[in-house]
């Protein structure tokens, strides 16, 4: 057999849900009378799934808590059969789990997809590049006219999620070891970020999430603030939101929109 044929067969043995015929294994691999080749390759096949399921366990601890080890392992195996790892970092193997759960929802807990998305975002920001936040006086000296010309560069360690269910309370219940409430359907936004080496998340109002998503895509401050027009006092709401973004370290630069877009381009190029 060529090297390519050998590797194709070994890969099939590891990843196929169906057992590979013993004759094909014995034709390629050598064993001993007391330890035949089929048993020897099975050592690798068993470790293949165990290793990947273990990586998923580390990334999705609350999903494991909710489902329990056995149900999580069954879910993970089903997921991995359809979504094998395509990244050199085994920690990336879970990046499609939330999408998988949306395609194959748990009938009793359709919010598990949202929980997985939240846990995946927490995993992502943990490893995101560092960036120095601007100081509390970053907006000082901006006159109203400058608002239309100024944009924000947000921390690369910040994610804004808009989910189909309130995942943050579910996460909290599981973290605290409390029985979770019933799923709470309806659009729900969460900000996930890293401060120092710690990861945090907090629920967001939907208009604030829209404002943050606009900021992340290069909107000017005027457009960002326009997201709050539905509030009773839009200016106060925008002011409070910008103040909290500063306080949490989510803003790393206040700049001309073209500079914001250049910073975004650089960030995309680094990925």
């Amino acid at each position: 057999m060529t090297l390519a044929e050998t590797q194709a067969l070994f890969h099939e043995i590891l990843t196929s849900a169906e057992p590979v015929a013993a004759e094909r294994i014995e034709a390629c691999f050598a064993g001993t009378p007391d330890h035949p080749a089929s048993e020897r390759v099975a050592i690798y096949a068993n470790m293949y799934l165990w290793r990947l399921v273990d990586a998923l366990r580390e990334t999705f601890p609350q999903l494991v808590r909710y489902l329990g080890d056995e149900r999580f392992a069954a879910l993970a195996e089903d997921y991995l059969r359809r979504n094998p790892s395509d990244h050199h970092d085994v920690g990336q193997v879970g990046r499609r789990l939330a999408a998988f759960l949306r395609e194959h929802p748990d009938p009793e807990r359709p919010d598990l997809a949202d929980l997985a998305e939240l846990e995946w975002a927490r995993h992502q920001v943990f490893f995101a590049p560092p960036a120095e936040p601007v100081g509390p006086d970053a907006f000082a000296g901006l006159d109203p006219a400058s608002f239309s010309r100024t944009g924000l560069v947000l921390s690369p360690a910040l994610r804004v999620l808009v989910l189909d269910h309130a995942a943050a309370p579910l996460w909290r219940s599981l973290e605290d070891g409390e029985p979770p409430d019933a799923p709470s359907p309806g659009a729900s936004a969460v900000a996930v970020w890293r401060g120092g080496f710690d990861v945090f998340h907090t629920p967001l109002a939907l208009d604030e999430a829209i404002a943050l998503e606009g900021a992340a895509s290069g909107d000017s401050l005027a457009t960002i603030c326009a997201a709050f027009t539905g509030r009773e006092d839009p200016a106060a709401a925008a002011h409070a939101a910008l103040g909290s973004w500063l306080a949490e370290g989510w803003i790393t630069a206040v700049a001309q929109p073209r500079d914001v877009l250049a910073a975004l381009d650089r960030r995309v190029a680094r990925r």
């Binding site: 590797q7 094998p84 395509d86």
Partner: protein
Amino acid sequence: MTTSRLDLGHGIGLRTRHFAQFMAGRPPVDWVEAVTENFMAPGGRPISVLEKVRAEVPVVLHGVSLAIGSVDPIPERYLAALQAVVKRIEPALVSDHLCWGAHRGQYVHDLLPLPYTEESLAHVASRVHEVQERLGRQLLLENPSSYVAYRDSSMTEWEFLAELTRRSGCGILLDVNNVHVSAHNHGFDPQEYLRGIPVDRVGYFHLAGHSDKGKYLLDSHDHSVPAAVWELYRAALHRFGRVPSLVEWDEAIPPLDEVVAESRRAAAIETEVLAPAERRLAS
């Protein structure tokens, strides 16, 4: 190209469980080995810890995903990430495994053995050239532990490694535990393995524990170095002389002191084995 035998001393693997102690001070280790892929992310705690440690002791980067023997092209994404972390950390050595583990863009995240054939040899040698040219430095490859062999193999693992290092200029990371485990699983003589490895190509040793699964030994890294591996380490010191050692402990990881104690034991054995010969040379 001969392998530069650095005077690193005796180190341990840098593991998450011990990050806090490495951040709080400087544990008594001569050097550390870091699993390359765990430190490729541009931010977060792991790379910050490694940069702090790197400022204090030598660091060796040890990869698990290069898949040097895979027939897939080596992904540019991987080479770029490897090059970036090597530039950032400036490690004393860069190593990975003599294995394959990716097929048609899919990673199995395991260190699968290769058939030891002329085709594999030519393939791996050309890929070592590619990586060494990209990094501008020597790559060391570790002998794997294995549980199965191939009918097509036409040479032993040590013959393959010796010829590979001659053709490609790569160094050898000789994992003493893996020699013991594979010798048990395949029924070869570990001393013959050591005799087949060129002395001037070995850059450092790995030492670790394994588990007895009845029909085979599993390279589990889940407890201290067993007596049989210490014995083979003594034999390796007799053959290869003073070689840096690294204790690996990846499952059921104990407190740092316990891992460091294993490393100090490696140092003591080295002194015990080599001091008489060195005294004779000095006189």
